[in-house]
């Protein structure tokens, strides 16, 4: 059985270990420790690469022309509300 103080010390040690030896960054290390998780050893360059590709993909979606139906919907609702 791990008591409160021991748990705190163990958590601090785990977090310190994660920060020193795992390249996935401090925030992720904290997350893994707080989640009581096994720390994945994803390389920082790989993380950056995935993040970059994801942002490119998403930026591409953002440039898609938006159907005019959404603007019409908002305007219709706004006009209806003003009348009432």
């Amino acid at each position: 059985m791990v008591r409160g103080t021991e748990r705190t010390v163990l958590t601090a040690l785990a977090r310190d270990f994660a920060r020193r030896f795992i390249s996935s960054g401090t925030q992720d290390a904290d997350a893994c420790v707080s989640a009581g998780d096994v720390l994945p050893t994803l390389d920082r360059d790989v993380q950056a690469h995935i993040g970059e590709r994801l942002r490119c993909y998403y930026a591409d979606l953002l440039t898609e022309p938006v159907p005019p139906t959404f603007a019409a919907l908002i305007d219709r609702f706004t006009r209806k509300e003003r009348r009432s």
Binding site: L54, Y58, D60, L61, E64, V66, F70, I74
Partner: protein, 184 residues
């Protein structure tokens, strides 16, 4: 509360973001548009619940995310797409995003559990903070961080980029350097 012109414009400016998020979540543009329309209707009908001065975008994302999970999770097998079948059959996608360079990533995203997918998209792609993402998804900060971590690892695994050596451009550069070093 009435819908002021400023609020209307802000809502309209958020639509492309809602749509990109919905496409990435649902994996299908028609479902995504239905989801965005339902989100706007829900938001406009409940505009009194929006607190002025708070982030409208986060509020709309919360509505969209909740709608996705309540109404669209009925098609769970289709959405989670463990074998990537749905992702590979996507026929009605936006023109630009149908580009080959995003095929692999889109298929890989389709194979992530929805909770991991949304966490990764909200923070990495949409730029919300961990705190905002936790609020939108109604989870704890640690849970969001953990989901993002798992999502990244899973994506790397699916896309077979677990090592910097696997990264395309670097491999190409190394090949060029190696070729230039070679004796003539």
């Amino acid at each position: 509360m009435t819908i002021e012109p400023g609020l209307r414009d802000e809502m309209l400016a958020t639509v492309p973001h809602l749509r990109a998020f919905a496409i990435s979540l649902s994996g299908h543009i028609d479902k995504a548009d239905d989801l965005v329309q339902d989100t706007l209707l829900r938001a406009l009908s409940n505009i009194d619940q929006f607190k002025p001065g708070t982030c409208l975008q986060a509020w709309l994302f919360t509505i969209l995310r909740n709608l996705f999970h309540t109404e669209y999770r009925k098609r769970r097998r289709e959405v989670e797409d463990p074998d990537g079948l749905m992702a590979s059959r996507l026929a009605v996608m936006p023109n630009q995003s149908g580009r080959l360079e995003f095929e692999e990533l889109r298929a890989a995203l389709g194979r992530l559990p929805p909770e991991q997918r949304e966490a990764l998209l909200l923070v990495t792609a949409e730029g919300f903070s961990y705190e905002e993402a936790a609020q939108i998804t109604g989870t704890q900060l640690g849970t969001i961080k953990s989901r993002i971590n798992r999502a990244r690892s899973r994506l790397a695994e699916i896309m077979n980029v677990n090592d910097p050596e696997d990264l395309g451009p670097d491999r190409l550069v190394r090949a060029v350097l190696h070729a230039s070093d070679a004796p003539r």
